[in-house]
Structure formats: structure tokens, C-alpha cells
């Protein structure tokens, strides 16, 4: 095993060297880095040219210049070799510093998007696989193909227009037109009818109920101008919490396991009490305080599940923890909503809370909730556009993988033993279906750090992709190399991790030692 890893790493080193050499030559020959100075009429033109030539070592031919660059770059990985040096950008900023700013921004943008895309994609894929050839399956297949075919910049521009500009206009009045209410209600009815399926009568009833409920909710939201002063309130939190508790119990333990159900419901009760008790504390909390509270609540949930016990403790614990997680999320969302009005009436926001570009409003001061809202409103549109695009492939992969597993003999064996369908799906099929997905996910996470070049560009998000793109446009080799090398290393490492994870998860696969 160890020799396999070492061999892979050595091979990767040579691959990285080769790739970086090619990239360096490509960027060096892609144009004239002095062009912008040459075309200017500045009196100090010659001095500027000399200055930049000196700065970028332009007198050295590109092939040799690569080795100069490599000499500095090697210091980043070899210990005790001296200061890490990836060169400077055209603006005379060290590339290491630029990378240090760009990497966190990119991770901030992409982590949430990727996690959500994976969770939703896998969930949708599994559900469609369980209901193969149903209307739901066909609709989801078509929609995922559609998302797969959308150019990301097109979606991004549309989102900017409808998700930001039009939505901000809507927020000024926050009343929904009757036509819009009817349309949304009909769509929601249709979606629910497709999801619930069953006889035509059942579908029709579902359609009617869902459409009516949606319409009523929308009328209520419109009449109370909910979108200007949104909040969930204890009632909605409690009702949603009970729904989550039932869902978590069905998923992990089945409703027959009353102990698990009761521990989940107790968590909902505790959560509602905590909602009232914590209000004053939450007002002035920071990020770490919130994280601490979250850990504490999960620990309490674990204890509740543990002491409720039942014939299988882990089931109660799982149901309790998932329910508490949901409750915590609801309470935090509610808190953000309570601060929404203050944020949107801030003089810097001027009642247009959803921005189209950037990652934060410069000069905005506020407590944790206000700055948090600021970050979230900036992230929401890029996140949606990334999710839409990558959701499709996860759905397809997990559907195919789940279908494959559901046809296996051990699934039939599990059924023959008399296990309930829930146990067969969650315990036998789903876990095995995740194995091939682990490889894909590891690979995707490896590619994360390279940034979503196009998305960052449309939303003017100063991350890795933007650094890379401006570098290419200005024929500025050092930042491009910096980004390429960081991406290359993460790609190589996560590729290796994917292979190792695969052999760890699936005992039939062994790496060649």
C-alpha cells in the first residue's frame, strides 16, 4: 500500500513538472506582455519597458525562464529552502499573496454550492432510481438534461436579471400579483402530483390540495408583506420540526420504532423551548459562539437518543441528531430573517438586498447576523447557478449507480430475508450505491479550488478563476502559473485519494501494491 502511494506520488511529481512546463510555455508564447506599455504614449515608456522586462525576466528565453520560476516555486514545497516565491503579478503583488486572497474566496463560493449539489443530486437520483420509468423519472431525466445543456453564463445573466434586479423591484412592494399566485399554485400542484403519483384520483386530489395550499400561503405572504419582514415564528418552526422528526425516523428507524420517534419528538420540544430561551443570547452571538451552540445541541440530541434507547440505540441517536440539526438550522434561519429588515434598510443596501456582483458590500458594519446576511445575499445567485449546472450530473450518476445496485443479488437476498423495503434501500442498496459516487465526488472536490472561472467572471467574484482569467488576458505568467500549480496539485492529490477511498470502501477492489 505504502509503496503504491509513493510510486503514485513520484509519478505525479513528474506529471506536474511536465504540465507546468507546457503551461508556462503556452502562456509565455500567447502574446506580448509589454503590449500595453508599447501602445501607450507615456513619456517614461522606455523606463517602464525596462522595468517590466527586469521584473518578469523577459530577457531570458521562455524555456530558461521556466527554470527560474521553478527555482522559486520549489522553495514552497521543499522545507528549509527559504521564502516561498511564485513571482509577482504585473501589479507587483506577490503571487503567493494573491493566491492567499483568492483561495478562501473561491472555497467560500464553491463549498456550499458543491455540498448542496451533492446532497440534492444524490437524493433526487436515488428517488428516481427507485421509481424508474415513472412520470417523475422521465421529468427529472428531462430536466437534468436541460440543466446539463445550459451555458453557465447564460443562466448567470438570467439570474442577475430575474433573481436580483426584478426581485429587488418586487421587494419594494412585496405584493404578489393574482396571476402569479395562480401560476405558481398550478405549478406546485403539478409538481406534487408527479412526486406523489398513485391513482389518477389520488393525483387529482394531491394536485388540488397542493395548489390550494400554495395559493393560500402566497396570498398570506403577499397580504402581510412577508418578504419585507420575513420570519418563521415558533409555530412554523414547531410544525416543520415535527415533520422533520417523522421524516428522520422513517428514514433511519421506521415508524414502528416508537423510541426513535419519541426521541426525535423530544428533540423538537427541546428545540422550541431553546428557541424562546436563546433569543436574547442569539442577538449578540458570534460565529464561534454559534458553532459552539450547534455542537452542544448535537451533543444533547445524542444524549436524548442514547437514554431513550430502544432495541437499537444508534437508530434513536441518528433520528434525534438529524432532527436537532434541522431544528438548529430553522432557528438560525429565523434569526437571519429577523435581521433581514435591518439589513435591507441599511443605507448602503438601499432596499435592494440581492446584489449582482461582488462578494461583500465594502464598508458595511454590523453584527454577525448583518454581515452574515451580506455574505449570503452575495453568494446566493452564484451558488444557484453552480448548483443548477452540477446537480444534473450528480443526479444522473447516482441514479445509474442506484439502479445497478438494486439489480444485484444481495438486494434480492435481503428482500427474501423479509426485510422491509426501507431497510433494503437504506442499508443494503444506498450505501453500496455511494461507492462509485465517492470517486466522482473526490474528483470534483479536487477540481473545486480551480474555481468556477465563468461564474466568477459573470458575478465579478475575486477568486481563483478570476485571478487566472485576468492573468491570461494580461499575458501575466506568474499568477496563471500559481493558479495552475495549485489546481494541479489538488487534482493529483484528490485523484489519489479517490483511488484509495475506492479500495477502502469496496473490498473487491485492491490497489496494485
Amino acid at each position: 500500500m505504502l509503496s503504491y502511494i509513493v510510486r503514485r506520488l513520484v509519478a505525479s511529481l513528474f506529471i506536474l513538472l511536465g504540465a507546468s512546463f507546457i503551461v508556462y510555455l503556452l502562456i509565455a508564447y500567447s502574446g506580448d506582455p509589454l503590449a500595453s506599455i508599447r501602445s501607450s504614449n507615456s513619456p517614461s515608456k522606455d523606463a517602464q519597458i525596462a522595468n517590466r522586462t527586469e521584473m518578469l525576466n523577459l530577457n531570458v528565453p521562455p524555456v530558461l525562464r521556466y527554470f527560474v520560476w521553478l527555482g522559486g516555486a520549489v522553495k514552497c514545497v521543499v522545507p528549509f529552502a527559504g521564502q516561498c516565491d511564485l513571482g509577482v503579478t504585473l501589479q507587483n503583488q506577490p503571487v503567493t499573496e494573491a493566491l492567499g486572497q483568492a483561495i478562501p474566496a473561491t472555497l467560500q463560493l464553491l463549498t456550499a454550492a458543491t455540498l448542496l449539489a451533492i446532497v440534492f443530486g444524490v437524493a433526487i437520483g436515488v428517488v428516481t432510481a427507485l421509481r424508474q420509468y415513472s412520470t417523475l423519472d422521465y421529468s427529472v431525466t428531462f430536466i437534468s438534461f436541460l440543466f446539463f445543456s445550459l451555458p453557465v453564463f447564460w443562466v448567470a445573466v438570467l439570474l442577475k436579471e430575474f433573481g436580483a434586479i426584478k426581485f429587488n423591484n418586487f421587494l419594494a412592494t412585496a405584493t404578489i400579483a393574482p396571476g402569479v399566485i395562480v401560476t405558481i399554485a398550478l405549478i406546485s400542484g403539478l409538481v406534487w402530483a408527479v412526486i406523489v403519483a398513485g391513482t389518477w384520483r389520488r393525483r387529482a386530489i394531491t394536485f388540488g390540495v397542493a395548489a390550494a395550499v400554495t395559493a393560500l400561503v402566497l396570498v398570506f405572504l403577499s397580504a402581510t408583506k412577508w418578504f419585507q419582514t420575513p420570519s418563521l415564528g415558533p409555530v412554523v418552526i414547531a410544525v416543520t420540526g415535527v415533520a422533520i422528526a417523522y421524516g428522520a425516523t422513517i428514514l433511519f428507524a421506521g415508524l414502528r420504532n416508537r423510541r426513535a420517534l419519541y426521541s426525535a419528538l423530544i428533540c423538537v420540544g427541546v428545540g422550541v423551548i431553546a428557541y424562546f430561551a436563546l433569543q436574547p443570547l442569539l442577538e449578540n452571538i458570534g460565529l464561534w459562539g454559534l458553532v459552539g451552540l450547534f455542537v452542544l445541541s448535537i451533543a444533547i440530541a445524542w444524549a436524548i437518543g442514547h437514554f431513550m434507547g430502544g432495541y437499537d440505540r444508534t437508530q434513536s441517536i441518528r433520528a434525534a441528531v438529524l432532527t436537532t440539526f434541522g431544528m438548529g438550522l430553522l432557528i438560525v434561519i429565523d434569526q437571519f430573517m429577523q435581521n433581514w429588515q435591518a439589513y435591507s434598510e441599511n443605507p448602503l443596501v438601499r432596499g435592494r438586498p440581492i446584489p449582482t456582483i461582488g462578494s461583500k458590500i465594502p464598508g458595511l458594519n454590523g453584527d454577525f447576523w448583518i454581515t452574515g446576511l451580506d455574505t449570503m445575499t452575495h453568494l446566493i445567485l452564484p451558488t444557484i447557478s453552480i448548483i443548477l449546472i452540477s446537480l444534473a450530473s450528480y443526479t444522473r450518476y447516482s441514479r445509474a449507480s442506484m439502479l445497478e445496485v438494486m439489480g444485484q443479488d444481495y438486494v434480492r437476498t435481503a428482500r427474501a430475508k423479509g426485510l422491509s423495503e426501507r431497510v433494503v434501500v437504506t442499508r443494503h442498496a444506498f450505501r453500496n450505491a455511494l461507492i462509485p459516487l465517492a470517486t466522482i465526488v473526490a474528483f470534483d472536490i479536487g477540481g473545486l479550488i480551480g474555481g468556477a472561472v465563468i461564474t466568477e467572471n459573470v458575478f465579478s467574484f475575486q477568486g481563483m478563476g478570476q485571478l487566472f482569467l485576468t492573468g491570461i488576458k494580461n499575458i501575466d505568467p506568474n499568477p496563471v502559473m500559481g493558479v495552475a500549480i495549485v489546481t494541479g496539485i489538488t487534482a493529483v492529490v484528490f485523484n489519489l485519494l479517490a483511488d484509495l477511498a475506492y479500495s477502502a470502501l469496496d473490498p473487491r477492489v485492491r490497489v496494485k501494491a
Partner: protein, 358 residues
């Protein structure tokens, strides 16, 4: 003279059950694949729509020196009619003067979109062909010869994977104008996107080369080249076709994305991505400039994806097994339908069933 086999076919017809007879009669691989492909509704619709788009794009503004039936060229700048608004009417259908509207200087958006579609489709095809050719060559050599050749070729593939295609595109963007513009861009894009194909073909070759028919061919004195191209490659055609379509659908998105950030097709050439890029600032004043090119990208890409999906199903040898299982599942489920309302609906509606459910 009829051979005994075909004779037997003729004398033993089974009119009561026509399907088994169909299965008994040998169908060629191509015939089976074609049949299965035609069963895939999405794929058939996809290919029809794609051909229609292609015909529309080529016939309307013509190709090269051949003129089309549309009155404007994508270069003309006629006077602005109706404020540049689109004149297309669906009921009654009426194209009008400028069906997709006009841009700021009066160029006809319909002609420009058609030109963009032509360019984007040709880039897609060239990328597909170049990438498939290179990928097959490298993957086949690596999988067939193994040993050192394989090690070198696959490490080379790993290296190309790491190089971001944006860099390659940046180099081309600056040099392409002297070297034949979009064709050069397309060929170069093909040269950096063959890696997935090479890996898949290699995997297929690794298993196929161990099969008996390869030994038989070698015993018969066939050369390596003959074995690769005549014996193994036809057996790997499924993987290759499916992957080529996927390559093409991603190529069209890559091209539009590159053009969007200014590293792809350069003006005065037109591509769909470039049209969107040029017109996005005018979204609030002239939204039609933005809608039509985007719509065409989505349609083309969607069609190619559906065709790829249909091909994958058609080439998948397990597809038949799934179908059989589905039929069996329906029969098995039928009695239960009396008790379960879910099955009722499934039989009534889309003929769908859940083979996974007992």
C-alpha cells in the same frame, strides 16, 4: 439454392408468436443497435430536432458562396425597423422583416444567430472528430501494446488533463486570426479534450485484447495494425460513439464559454457564445438579442445529449435484460394491483413500473 438454415426459417414460421421468431433470426449488431436507438423516444426526437436546426441554419443564409433563402446576410446593416424589435409571429405564423430583431447597428439577428449556429455546430463536429481520432489512437496503442508504451502514453494523458483548456484557448485566441480562425480553434480544442476518450478506449482494449478472437487473428498471421483496426476497434465502437457525442455536447458549451470570456471565436467571426457575450449588457433594453442565441445553444446541446443517451442505451448489452425484467415485473405485479392503488396508476399511465419493489 437456399442454405439449410434459411430454409428452416421459412418452413417453421410461428404466426402465433411473432416476437420469438424475430429473436431467432440473426440480427446484425448494427441492426440491433439501430432498433434499440429507434425505441428511445428522446433520442429520436433529439436527432430530428438537430437535423431541423442544421437544415434551418444552412439553408437560411447559405453556406460559404452558396446563397440561402433569407434576404439578409449576417454582415448587412439594414435600416432599423420597429425599433429593432423581433417581428416573429406565431399565430398566424409570420416571419416579418426581422424575426429575431436587430442589434444596435441594425444587423439582422436571425442571420447572425444562424451564422452562429453554423459556426458552433462545425466547431462541435471538428472537436468531436479530432478528439475522437487522437483519443482512439492513444488509447488503443496504450491498451493494445501495454508495457512501456502504455506507461508513457497514459502519463502523457494525465499531464494533458492537468493543463487547463483556457490556457490553450488563450494561446489560440491570439494566434488564430492568422491561422484560419475558428477551424484552428476547433482543431486545437480537439487536441486538448481527447483525454477521457483515451482512458475509456484503453480500458476497453485491455479487456478485448485478451479475448480468443484476437488470438485467432494473430494465429492467422494478422499484423498488429490489422488486429487493432479490424478486430478490436469494431468491438469498442459502442464506447467510442457514446463518448464522442458527450464530447461534442461539452465541446459546444466549452466553445461558447470561451467565446463568452473573449478567448474563443474572435470577431468578425460569429458564434452563439460570442453573440451572448456581446449582447448581455443590452439585456434590459434588447432582451431578444440575448434570448435567441442562448435558446439555440440549449437546443443543440440538449439534442446532442439526448442522442448520446439513446446511443448509450442502444449499445448497452444489459439494456435488453432490463427490458425483460420490466416485462416480467409487470406480470408478477399484476395480481397485487388489486390491493395496491399505486400499481393501478402505473399500469394505467405511462406503463411504468418499479422493478425494485416487491
Amino acid at each position: 439454392m437456399t442454405s439449410p438454415l434459411s430454409n428452416m426459417d421459412e418452413v417453421s414460421p410461428s404466426p402465433a408468436t411473432p416476437e420469438p421468431e424475430e429473436q431467432v433470426r440473426g440480427l446484425s449488431q448494427g441492426r440491433i443497435v439501430f432498433k434499440r436507438f429507434m425505441d428511445h423516444r428522446g433520442a429520436v426526437i433529439g436527432i430530428i430536432v438537430f437535423v431541423l436546426v442544421l437544415i434551418l441554419a444552412v439553408s437560411s443564409i447559405g453556406l460559404g458562396p452558396i446563397p440561402g433563402w433569407w434576404k439578409y446576410s449576417y454582415k448587412d446593416t439594414p435600416d432599423i425597423v420597429n425599433g429593432g424589435h423581433p417581428t416573429l409571429q406565431w399565430f398566424p405564423f409570420h416571419l416579418g422583416e426581422h424575426p429575431f430583431g436587430q442589434d444596435r447597428v441594425g444587423r439582422d439577428m436571425f442571420a447572425m444567430t444562424m451564422r452562429g449556429a453554423q459556426i458552433s455546430i462545425s466547431i462541435m463536429l471538428i472537436v468531436g472528430i479530432v478528439a475522437a481520432a487522437v483519443g482512439i489512437l492513444i488509447g488503443a496503442s496504450a491498451g493494445f501494446f501495454r508495457g512501456k508504451t502504455e506507461a508513457i502514453l497514459m502519463r502523457f494523458t494525465d499531464m494533458i488533463i492537468i493543463i487547463p483548456s483556457l490556457i490553450a484557448a488563450a494561446v489560440i485566441a491570439t494566434t488564430s486570426r492568422q491561422l484560419g480562425g475558428v477551424w484552428f480553434l476547433a482543431a486545437f480544442l480537439g487536441l486538448v479534450s481527447w483525454t477521457g476518450m483515451a482512458r475509456l478506449v484503453r480500458g476497453d482494449f485491455l479487456t478485448l485484447r485478451e479475448r480468443e478472437f484476437v488470438d485467432a487473428a494473430r494465429l492467422a498471421g494478422a499484423s498488429n495494425r490489422r488486429i487493432i483496426f479490424k478486430h478490436i476497434l469494431p468491438n469498442a465502437i459502442g464506447v467510442i460513439t457514446v463518448n464522442t457525442t458527450l464530447l461534442m455536447s461539452s465541446a459546444i458549451l466549452t466553445e461558447t464559454a470561451l467565446s463568452y470570456v473573449g478567448l474563443g471565436v474572435q470577431p468578425p467571426d460569429i458564434s452563439l457564445g460570442l453573440l451572448i457575450s456581446q449582447n448581455q449588457a443590452a439585456f434590459s433594453t434588447r432582451p431578444w438579442l440575448f434570448w435567441w442565441p442562448g435558446l439555440f445553444i440549449v437546443i443543440i446541446c440538449l439534442c446532442v445529449n439526448f442522442v448520446g443517451d439513446g446511443l448509450r442505451d442502444a449499445f448497452d448489452p444489459r439494456q435488453k435484460k432490463f427490458r425483460l425484467k420490466k416485462d416480467k415485473g409487470e406480470q408478477r405485479l399484476a395480481p397485487a394491483a388489486l390491493e395496491s392503488p399505486i400499481d393501478d396508476a402505473l399500469h394505467g399511465s405511462s406503463g411504468a413500473t418499479e422493478p425494485g419493489r416487491p
